[in-house]
Amino acid sequence: MTPAPAAPQRHSNLDRPHLLRLYELMLRIRAFEELAVEAQKEGYVLGAIHPSIGQEAVAAGVCAQLRRDDLMLSTHRGHGHTLAKGADALAMMRELFGREGGTCGGKGGSMHIADFEVGMLGANGVVSANIPIAAGAAHAIKLRGEDRIVACLFGDGAINRGPFLEGLNWAKVFELPVLFVCEDNGFAATTRTSSMTAGPGAAARAEALDIPAETLDGNDLLALESATRDAIAAIRAGGGPRLLHCRTYRMTGHTAVDPAAYRPAEEVAQWRDADPIARVAALLQDGGSGSDELDAIAAKVRQDMEEICQSAKDSPWPAEARAFEDVQDMGDPRERAY
């Protein structure tokens, strides 16, 4: 109900080229999702889509700061994280359309996008299930003596499932390199999360496990970047897990087809005013970017994404035989069927 807190600006001198890159990334994420939603209306996407429109600062402020060889686990609402980690938008769009050449060959869809090439170990269709998996990926990193870290993103609804506790406890007990990120958009599907959550939430729960935690304005790119940078440095230096609790808002319904009638219009309007992309644009303008420059970037991003979308639409379906591939090494999956 409360608007995003106005976080103090941490960066006094702005790195404008860097910020422009993140601005473009946020625009790409939004264009990707807007086009995916349109394509769903046209019948190209049969499965569910969970847009992250309004939450792009988390992707840009957190995920984009990972090294390529760092690992990341995401959720059902993971397009932004995945693009920020460096996955290919065309492969992702194809995946949403269930086509050959999709990140998972069309077998996963939006909720199971993964791109192991860039360290993206998967969205997950089961809320909170990615948390123990992230802890385990970090466990492997520690066993192998590497300096990589794992970022694990989850929603505010995820902190009420047991794996949240088990995974955080695990990461702390073994002092593993995990950055936990609670992307708190105030809702779990149609339920206002605060109504089903005891206590102040993710950060407090992490702190009860001696995991350092910080609560942030999740629509403030610079604040997120700065906190993430500090957290990653501490984690990479062997300091064990940390948690960032990022308060943001979902501008759409839970899925692309949810009208989200359960939210007061004023609340939505308030958050619309805190749009993270508009906020970055304002920063850039303060820093000297003209609105022409920004509009041109936006137009280019949109056009590129439209081409990607068209290309995905033109992509072939996977061959039927793929249904029987990549099940497992042992045994014939066709045995006794039909």
Binding site: C104, G105, G106, K107, V126, N160, R322, F324, P333, Y338
Partner: protein, 327 residues
Amino acid sequence: MAAITYLEAGRRALAEEMRRDPSVWAVGEDLGRGGVFGQYKSLADEFGPARISDAPISEACIMGASVGAAMSGTRPVVEMRFSDFALCAVDELVNQAAKARYMFGGQTKVPLVVRQPMGMWRSSAAQHSQSLEAWYVHIPGLVVVAPATPADNLGLLKSAIRCDDPVVYLEHKNLWTLEGEVPEDEHLTPLGVAETVREGRDVTLVTWSAQRWACLEAAETLSAEGIEAEVIDLRTLWPWDRDRVLASVEKTGRLLVVQEAVSVAGFGAEIAASVAEALHKRLAAPVKRLGAPRVPVSYAPPLEARVRVTAEAIVAAAREQITPAAA
């Protein structure tokens, strides 16, 4: 009689039982706003948020708390959203709900109904498409129900709510919008009783849940060819209506079990094995199962479709049972 949807039938069943018995309540994520598929729409208006209760995303606790509430004088209806998420609550269902009465020497019963929307539906992919009825049939203490029609979703859900055993209640997501005639008066479908949906002399198709409709379609096609298939919708998988199935196969001499689930170690194996054990001599053809291959369900429509048991596959299998292709 009035035609209502399968979804609406479930909603009516719950509303009727909640009116009838104040100890009945429902709990699950988003129920206050109607539930993920709208099965609970406006029920909170009539019954209030305590009896149509929201829940945190805590499947284990939704199930576990319902076990405690069921042992303490209430009758919870537990919404799992997708049957796949019930896998987050297996200890609570299998080690606790199913065993409490027995372990405690009959001191308590656990009258709860776990609604688990199941099955393949519109590119839902591997974590939102499973049909795991075989698991629950294997667990002592559980009743397992899988309605295929609006009338049965009304009558079976009401019976499930009145049952003192923990009931795993598997609605099929692909049937939500199916319309069908439903009695306007109170309608109870007894647990454990199959429905012979179509009579026939040549082959017995045993099925449940959404595959009922594929079987009926296949039976039409077969009938046009002069093959009369008897179609039995089991409706309840435990206890399953063994007598009905055996009597039918006794008559037809042939059994084809049709299931959406993975065939290997699926519930169809239980039926096929039981019939083979009981009626070996009477069988004019080997028992046969149709089911999915042993692969997770894909997202891409053509791959998803590839693992469905279609009416055509049923027709082909039935034909083959009646006139085996030359070896």
